[in-house]
Amino acid sequence: MKKDISIGVIGSGTMGSGIAQITAKHQLNVLLFDVEKDVLSSNIKRIHSRFDRLVEKGKMSEDECEDAKKNILPTTKLEEMADCAFVIEAAPEKIDVKKEIFKKLDEVCGEHTILATNTSSFSVTEIGSITNRPDRVAGMHFFNPVPLMPLVEIVKGEKTSQQTIDLLVDLGELVNKLPVTCKDTPGFIVNRVARPYYNEALKISNERLASIEQIDKIMKVSGGFKMGPFELQDLIGIDINYTTTESVYGGFFGDSRFRPSYDQQRKVQAGTLGKKSGGGFYNYEA
């Protein structure tokens, strides 16, 4: 059943595309923004092919697939977000870029539009402060890959109203996610509490107490984790993992609990980033 709600999504990269995909699949209108027209249309094509694959797998009917595709409209103008009930920003993780987007959105959007950021590393309060509606600005942090990960963190900035939080929780449920609300603190819940899984594993390896193979095996057998900390870094991308650690470390003003590892930094500097570069902690070349 078609729902008469329009959602703006800013950025058609991995996270923005994922958010657009699940939103369109749940019969909401999506206005997907990106700066470059060509990038946008190729990313929309990629979303369409993911819908086609869902049909092939029998997880979606032909009709649902066509509707979902129709639900996504491209735009390169932020002005077109004016009538959206919600806008979810998933632009690159650069604070100046995000501030510029929020300033513009605040100018062009109707007064009831709720502006959410998918940031994983910046303060929602800081982003909200650039607008004249900090009560209607919040975090809506999805996890990669968006279509598969059930969680969404709804982040309450210093001035975010409870009504805004309630509406974003409803929106999360509408797109079949499990919303958890939290305060605006570095790394929110997941990226903060998960840090020791990587950082302490790196420190144990650095101290030559156990090999990376041993650590991965022990965490899977004794802990029941699906992947060991080093396999998982290779999958996520060692650069992405390192950037998250640096950001949380900075957010806590250098608290040693979050101190990054030079071993991890060396991998990033060498471009040995994990599966995507053919090698990381393990070698993936054939």
Binding site: I189, P196, Y197, L209, S256
Partner: protein, 256 residues
Amino acid sequence: MERNQAGGFIIMKPSTDQKTLYVVGSEMIAGSIMKDIEKKGFRLATKEELERERQNVDLVIETTCLDLEKKKANLQMIEAAVEESTLILSSVLSISATESASFLNNPSRLVGFGILGSWEEAALVEVAPALQTDEEYLDQVSNLLSEFDKEMEVVQDEAGLVFPRILSLIINEAAFALNEGIASASEIDIAMMKGTNYPMGPLAWADKVGIDNVYSVLMGLHRSLGEERYRPAPLIRKMVHAGWLGEQTGKGFYET
């Protein structure tokens, strides 16, 4: 925290061969080792028997964690009660095997082990030789663990080893976040299970493995390595003092 009905001594004796095992300690794990041995048809005996049958002792398992003075006293008492060559398998959740071995006149027969959680459920046991340990004792541990159908992983010696150390730090961070009011215990647990595929939420996990054990690992790392990084969350420290140790006492981060 004296929960061991045998006054800190549980003596297990196999019914078929000559091998005799002793477990010393009052931690949750001492109880779970005892249960496993019972299942395998071993006999539990008393402290008096330890003294009377000292000639037959092949192995002592020692599990003291939090109170290191007591651990030292227990290890020295064991040394006085058993033969000089008897293997002592000692829990190193909160102290290195090397430091534990230093309490003994014959440090070469001490081997460290670490399990966070129950002995019965552990498919793998991390084992760490002290710097002073003789190789032959590692072989004895290997033989023992295969009798219990447990896999042995030999790692280098440091308090908390690998899994207890990493899990305790995750739990510590979850406790800091809870104490700072970032979200509720169940919200934190759900987030970790649904946002990054953890098999259990860290706070429910703490209740299961024992908050006293998590605190022991953190205190051991903090004391041994001297780094602020390992400072236990104030909430964990207070819960241990209040006797809120998780499932074993019916109250922890959750009520059970």
